[in-house]
């Protein structure tokens, strides 16, 4: 075992920024040219939005250790806030309304993060449910939020940034990709900063963190604020770039659970984990429906699909919790190390 570890440390290690940069170059340079509209609409756009939401929740739950079941509420708050800012504030550019929407989501996050100063674990999770139900209720109850539309549905505005319109599936994909990349980079910087280490300290031992002088209350609320900001912007992407028309019911408790599953499957306390988890959550139902249709033909209708999705996903989560608590990221790292080792020894 020791020998193997030594082997690895002597291997030429690529700089850490190489992989993300290559990936981004591929995502910007190659994907728009070869991708079909189905790829963008059904896979990449929801993947990007959910990844960003996963990054946001991971800051709160994975790093700072505060369990939250209110993610969808913060997405909804972001989406509806951006819609209203853009609609009601004359001359406000789209970027401005997105940033303001994030700030609104952050403010709501702080309010519903206040119980975390007293509550821990499951009790805190239950109290964040209040955010989930309250926001969804308020958006449905007060039609002002959806500009008095009869059905409560909002239509996203044109994605226009300094005169440049992000039209069509590819345009919206590039828009989402840019926002997600910037926020993910900032999130990465955050978790490797002093504040990020304070998050981990509070997660691992709150009493010790307080004793050594980490401002625990402030740091917890900061985690809620930053997490909610990112999840709020993810909500804007979900509404404006992916679905284009959303209603409050689209941000229900199921969505919150979905985001929680993303970070559990992908890997807690890992920025990459959110992307791994989101990829699985988005691609898995599509793959299952293709596979089911191929194997079983007409018997595999949407009802069966829905049911089998839940069963397989539930089993998958249980398996992950038992076999790989560190998520897909840990699995990926292990496989990559094996491959590298095999490649070196040949």
């Amino acid at each position: 075992m020791t020998a193997i570890t030594d082997e690895f440390s002597s291997a030429p290690v690529l700089p850490k920024w190489i992989a993300p940069v290559l990936l981004l170059a591929f995502a910007y340079g190659v994907v728009p040219l070869i991708g079909s509209s189905y790829l963008f609409e059904a896979i990449l756009l929801p993947f990007l939005a959910l990844s960003l939401a996963g990054v946001g929740l991971n800051i709160l739950t994975g790093y700072a250790g505060q369990v939250s079941l209110g993610s969808a509420a913060f997405m909804a708050a972001g989406a509806f806030a951006a819609y209203n800012f853009y609609l009601r504030v004359e001359g406000l550019p789209l970027i401005g309304s997105i940033v303001l929407a994030g700030i609104v989501a952050a403010a709501i996050g702080i309010v519903f993060g206040l119980p975390s100063l007293r509550l821990k674990g499951f009790y805190l999770a239950v109290s964040t449910l209040a955010a989930q139900f309250f926001v969804q209720w308020a958006l449905t109850k007060f039609s002002w939020f959806s500009n008095d539309s009869a059905s409560g549905v909002i239509d996203a505005p044109k994605l226009l940034i300094s005169g440049f319109a992000f039209d069509g599936a590819v345009g919206r994909y590039l828009f989402a990709l840019t926002v997600v990349s910037i926020l993910t980079f900032l999130a990465y910087r955050l978790v490797s900063s002093q504040t990020g280490r304070n998050f981990i300290a509070i997660r691992d031992n709150e009493t010790a963190a307080r004793i050594i002088g980490i401002p625990v209350l402030k740091t917890k609320l900061l985690a809620f604020a930053i997490s909610s900001f990112i999840i709020g912007v993810a909500g804007v992407i979900w509404a404006f770039a992916y679905l284009r028309t959303v209603e409050p019911d689209g941000f229900d408790l199921d969505r919150s659970f979905q985001i929680l599953f993303i970070i559990i499957i992908g890997g807690l306390a890992s920025i990459r984990g959110a992307f791994f988890g989101a990829a699985l959550i988005v691609v898995f139902p599509l793959a299952l429906s293709r596979l089911g249709g191929f194997l079983l033909g007409d018997v595999f209708d949407s009802g069966v699909l829905d049911m089998s999705q839940r069963i397989v996903l539930g089993a998958l989560i249980i398996l992950f919790l038992i076999l790989e608590p560190d998520g897909l990221v840990a699995l990926w790292d292990r496989v990559r190390r094996r491959l590298l080792f095999a490649w070196q020894s040949t």
Binding site: M1, T2, L186, R189, L190, S193, Q194, T195, R197, N198, I200, A201, R203, D204, N205, T207, A208, A209, R210, I211, I212, G213, I214, P215, V216, L222, I226, A269
Partner: protein, 308 residues
């Protein structure tokens, strides 16, 4: 298996480290009988750095501490011993503000508190370790130790994310100071390991490093040698003494191993059932009849326990 042997190698390599550090430093206090005024000035010694006055603490009907007075002079190593449940850890928790005493107050550096403000403890120059390991498992050893300086950080998260303002300088300073402490406690070899992956004895030492990095005036050690082997204990005792000599830190120490305590400390307070039954130099404590009855024990002739 390889992990264990690796750890063992670490231990062996570092056995002599504290003596090396202690050598050449003004450590006139190596023998505990000499007195209680080490590196600090005489003026420091006149007013105790820490004094407890009439501390009482109860949990429901259970009296954990009753009317405890304790004074700790600047620069001394002050041990608190006593049987299990005597209230030793409660006392440390009162001093560090984790518990609020029902009666009495804690005087720290001339300022009196009914409850010491835990959040400001680091600013007051007080650091502590915990009986059960309280490391941040998800951080590296280096970051664990550097976190002992988190109370000084002035930059906000935005500055840290963008890498502007004072955040860079702060990070550089705390890393270099953490590195010095790691070297002092002979932990450099495990610098980049996750704290949770270290063997128990080393984790205890990392906790000492995290407390020491802020160069506290008062260091509270809650059973720093619990669960260690004899050689690990003497090694740890060496580190505690070296830390006192190098940083002029006052040490309050809870320990079970009487042999280690006798050799290490300047004065010893003995607790039993929440009361202080003795408070003197090691030699006096060793011969105190009440202490012997309560704690040290004699070769028992099995008075009432016959047949158990």
């Amino acid at each position: 298996m390889p992990l264990a042997s690796y750890a063992l190698g670490m231990m062996e390599a570092s056995v002599y480290a504290p003596e090396v550090f202690a050598r050449g430093l003004p450590s006139t206090l190596q023998s505990s009988a000499v007195g209680i005024v080490p590196t600090g000035s005489i003026a420091d010694a006149a007013v105790p750095l820490l004094s407890l006055q009439g501390i009482g603490l109860s949990f429901g009907g259970v009296v954990a501490l009753a009317d405890i007075d304790l004074s700790v002079l600047s620069g001394e190593i002050r041990a608190i011993i006593g049987p299990n449940g005597a209230g030793k850890s409660s006392l440390i928790n009162v001093i560090s503000g984790v518990y609020r005493p029902g009666r009495g107050h804690v005087q720290l550096d001339g300022i009196s508190y009914t409850q010491v403000p835990t959040q400001r403890l680091a600013h007051l120059g007080v650091a502590r370790t915990f009986q059960n390991l309280a490391l941040f498992k998800g951080l590296s050893v280096l970051d664990n130790v550097a976190s002992g300086l988190a109370y000084k950080v002035r930059s906000n998260f935005a500055g840290q994310v963008l890498g502007i303002g004072r955040s860079r300088g702060e990070r550089r300073d705390s890393l270099s100071r953490a590195d010095q402490i790691l070297e002092f406690l002979d932990l450099t070899a495990v610098r980049d390991r996750l704290a949770g992956t270290l063997p128990y004895g080393l984790q205890k030492r990392v906790e000492l490093a995290r407390a020491l990095v802020a160069e506290p005036r008062l260091l509270l050690l809650d059973e720093p040698m619990a669960g260690m082997t004899a050689s690990e204990k003497s090694e740890m005792a060496g580190f505690v003494r070296a830390a006192r000599d190098r940083f002029a830190t006052t040490v309050v120490l809870i320990e079970h191993d009487v042999g280690v305590v006798m050799g290490l400390s300047d004065r010893i307070a003995v607790l039993d059932y929440g009361r202080k039954i003795a408070d003197a130099t090691p030699d006096e404590v060793r011969n105190d009849q009440r202490v012997i009855d309560a704690y040290l024990g004699v070769a028992s002739d099995n008075e009432d326990g016959a047949g158990i």
